[in-house]
């Protein structure tokens, strides 16, 4: 199962990011564990400076905006 973390201080964009990832995961039938991470320490440990940011299986893949649909599909589909 894929582990996806959404990093952000709880602003609306971060919530939207988490929502659209879980929606698209459900559409694609990909099992994903989506975690919202709000602590400053966590953001620092991934070196994230602009939120929302996305970490897939401990790998930082995106930061600074709500990701587009194609990007999310890409992360979910990659082997």
């Amino acid at each position: 199962m894929r582990e996806i973390k959404v990093l952000g201080s709880g602003c609306t964009k971060c919530t939207k990011t988490a929502e659209s990832i879980s929606r698209i995961a459900a559409e694609l039938g990909v099992e994903a564990n989506i975690i919202k991470e709000t602590s400053p320490q966590a953001m620092m440990s991934y070196g994230v400076m602009s939120t929302p940011a996305v970490v897939v299986d401990e790998q930082l893949v995106h930061s600074g905006s709500i990701p587009h649909r194609e990007q999310i599909e890409g992360w979910l589909r990659q082997p």
Binding site: S9, M44, G47, M49, S50, S63
Partner: protein
Amino acid sequence: MLGIFTDLADWVVYQLLALDAGSKLGSALHFFVEDVSKIFALLLVMIYVIALLRASLNVEKVRDYLSGRHRALGYLMGSVFGAITPFCSCSSIPVFLGFTSAGIPVGITMAFLLTSPLINEVAVLLLLSLLGWKFTLLYILVGMLVGIAGGLLLDLIKAERWLQSFAAEALQRARSGNAVTTTIDAEALSLQQRHEFARDETLDIFSRVWKWVIIGVGLGAALHGFVPEGWIENYLGQGQWWSVPAAVVLGIPLYSNATGVIPVMESLILKGLPIGTTLAFCMSTVAASFPEFILLKQVMQWRLLAILFALLLTAFTIVGWIFNGLTPFL
């Protein structure tokens, strides 16, 4: 070119609604229609153009640039980047930590974070269209000066002593040669990507600030129409020394971003409030806000927060006094 918005307001208020130009309501409504239509049009066009130009600038690049700099230049550049980098206040904590864990001194980071809310493209546009280029230039210079001086002072008093422990440790680690600087590889942007970025940015910023414009212009219009002519000038027009700190204190509980407060500035200046007092009031409203300070608590101890707050209030008061003193020469 901006005259068409006056014409539009003339038409809407005096023809369509048939209000008297001399009446309080007519005058207030005219101010409102003219400013709101002008600001909305300018915002949509200019945010797009600016976003197109700066699509490739982001906080990661700023961090990489600042982390290699000499200190003296660092404060200046921190402040310059604070003014031009797109960045939302909800990101100030991760930005602070990102800069800190790259080993950038606290003062330079704060020069960036202090300048950022004061100067941004929306504020500059509004100032240009409502108050003219001289005032805009003055505002930019003062905003940057506050950021630079604030940053310098914080380093002078060794502010890093009062960071929360995990942030202080990150700074220590970076100083001893283990700077953390993760970056997602960015490819060069195509024109198409720039357009998409600019479109998203315009929609995003506009959807965030439109209500501030309405509130700000609404207040400005109310002041414009209903505060008796000469009232402000009679009581505060001489730039009495106490009026500046009073304006700063009044600005603290009022929380607004630059977009909301600039139309109020316009109205206050038209009513005869001295420039220094107006500037002090507006900077205090924009930069000294409790919600932002509470956020910073996550990375700073109370003591540093209190120092920062006092520093800002003092800076705005001094700015106000200086400009009131200079007014006769401007």
